[in-house]
């Protein structure tokens, strides 16, 4: 019996190694056969290092990461303030929902990226346009989740507050807000992903710096190593952002139970 279990455990642990190994093998084989299409791992590594000596667009890889991150976090901050306000107003005031909510529902279905041409006509192609676009990207999840979070507050909790003769503002501060916090944070996590997506797209469409710009540069200059450097960096940064968002969730809402 024991032996069977041991063998099973060994196989399970080898599988991840096998699949990553397969992936890398395919990469190496394909890129060596078509170096003009896909850069080999060696080329990618060399290029990344070379960027420290020969910066692209005036910056090395970390400079570009920082530029993209700056845009994301500024926009995220604005989206948080606007979104939470909007969501709260819509959830708490029926009049607010009928007025602001109607206008919000008009704007909501239009994907953030569809706004790019309009925003560039209004604000040009500078930093402001990008921040506005990324903020628009983060607005939807935060507003919707704040609204839902307040609406689904357990009525029992509110009743307890009423029994204890809490004032409206106390009800709001001490019961409704904490109860809707998990939902708001979930919205924050989604918004982070969305903002990342929009920042990359916005940078691809017209920027002088940032990860999206790096990729566009690679395409324009037909420079596969840069493209892959950009993509791998995007993957790593994306994973780090997810981890960061989960971390924020754990700190602000320690009482949530997670699945995995």
């Amino acid at each position: 019996m024991l032996k069977k279990n041991q063998i099973r455990k060994i196989i399970l642990n080898i599988f991840p190694v096998i699949s990553i190994g397969l992936l890398i093998t395919v990469w190496v084989l394909f890129s060596n056969a078509h170096p003009n299409l896909l850069a080999t791992p060696r080329m990618v590594f060399d290029r990344a290092i070379r960027m420290f000596e020969h910066p692209i667009g005036g910056m090395n890889i970390f400079g570009h990461i920082w530029v993209s991150m700056k845009r994301i976090f500024i926009a995220l901050g604005i989206a948080l303030v606007l979104g939470i306000l909007l969501g709260l107003i819509m959830a708490v005031s029926r009049f607010g929902k009928a007025t602001l909510g109607t206008i919000y529902n008009l704007i909501k279905p239009i994907p953030p990226l569809a706004w790019v041409p309009m925003i560039t006509v209004w604000f040009g192609i500078g930093e402001l346009s990008k921040i506005i676009l990324v903020t628009r990207g983060g607005l939807n999840p935060i507003t919707d989740n704040t609204y839902t979070g307040v609406r689904i507050t357990d009525k029992n909790l509110i009743d307890v507050g009423r029994v204890a003769r809490a004032s409206n503002s106390q009800l709001f501060r001490l019961i409704i807000l904490p109860a809707s916090l998990p939902s708001i944070i979930a919205g924050f996590k989604n918004a982070l992903t969305n903002c990342f997506m929009v920042v990359l797209a916005a940078e691809m469409m017209g920027a002088q710096a940032g990860l999206g710009f790096l990729i566009t540069r690679g395409i324009m200059a037909v420079d596969p190593p840069i493209i892959l450097v950009g993509m791998i960096t995007i993957g790593i940064v994306g994973a780090l952002l997810s981890a960061f968002a989960s971390y924020v969730e754990r700190i602000t809402c320690p009482w949530i139970r997670r699945i995995n």
């Binding site: 399970l12 206008i103 008009l106 239009i110 994907p111 997506m197 990359l200 999206g212 940064v237 994306g238």
Partner: protein, 273 residues
């Protein structure tokens, strides 16, 4: 005497409630009308130049015009819509067909999870937009490259939600099936998968929104037809009415897709929580 007053005060309450509901709908409608009227006026009276903002009437005119004319971007409105839909639906279809089964299997069979997980964790953080360069490099500037981008955008949420759905199957249900002597695969088919269905549908819905958004991005960056392209062309020819028309149509189709999806979901999930 008492009965009559109680009854009439009940009727009063109901009438009051009806009036309140009616009042709020009225407010929404008035807000909508005000919004469009103000918009029309500020463009008409040149408070905002008509070069940077098109009025609602201009957009309506552009809509009608676009139904027949091929305009600056080389295709009528219907042709653009059809081109966009073709790509989005193809990518969505392939993403779901691969994503959902893989996700379900990953949730039930640990070996599958161990094998697919590492590669998936590498793919997951890259947003659909990030796949554009690779798609363009490998497949050129055509239909297949765009479908590939949509595919990645659909594939990821499908896998995540399907896997979570299966993982959440309560052990008690599985145990009941075991006491009836069902074999592992049968339990998977008859207990795990049905239990995961609601989450699978949520994943499909997220994937739908994601694919429609990714489509817009893909078309703006690398296309010669479709709604995204129409918007970009609108900017190039300084036709703000086309830009806004494109945005409105994109949003409108998004709403329609979601409604259709909700109906399909209701049909499949009849009677479930």
């Amino acid at each position: 005497m008492e009965k009559a007053t109680v009854q009439s005060s009940n009727v009063d309450l109901i009438n009051q409630k009806k009036k309140k509901q009616f009042n709020y709908t009225l407010v929404s409608i008035i807000t909508l009308i005000l919004f469009f009227v103000v918009w029309q006026l500020i463009v008409q009276y040149e408070i905002v130049s008509s070069r940077i903002l098109a009025s609602p009437i201009d957009i309506a005119r552009a809509f009608i015009e676009k139904l027949t004319k091929e305009g600056p971007d080389g295709a009528t409105l219907q042709e653009n819509v059809w081109a966009s839909m073709k790509i989005a639906m193809t990518g969505y279809f392939f993403g779901c067909i691969t994503g959902v089964p893989i996700g379900l299997l990953m949730g039930w069979y640990k070996p599958v999870d161990r094998f697919v997980r590492p590669v998936f964790d590498l793919i997951r953080p890259i947003p659909p937009v990030g796949w554009i360069p690779i798609s363009l490099l490998l497949l050129g500037f055509g239909f297949r490259a765009k479908v590939l981008i949509i595919f990645f955008g659909t594939f990821v949420p499908c896998i995540i939600n399907s896997q979570t759905g299966v993982l959440l199957t309560p052990q008690s249900l599985i145990d009941v099936a075991k006491t009836f002597g069902a074999k592992d695969f049968e339990i998977f088919r008859k207990v795990g998968i049905p239990y995961a269905l609601p989450l699978v549908f949520t994943g499909l819905r997220i994937a739908l929104a994601s694919s429609w958004g990714a489509l817009v991005a893909a078309e703006m960056l690398a296309a010669n037809a479709g709604l995204g392209n129409m918007i970009v062309m609108g900017r190039q020819f300084v036709r703000t009415d086309l830009i806004i028309l494109g945005m409105v149509v994109i949003g409108f189709i998004g709403i329609i897709l979601v409604s259709i999806f909700d109906q399909i979901e209701k049909f499949f999930l009849k009677g479930r929580i």
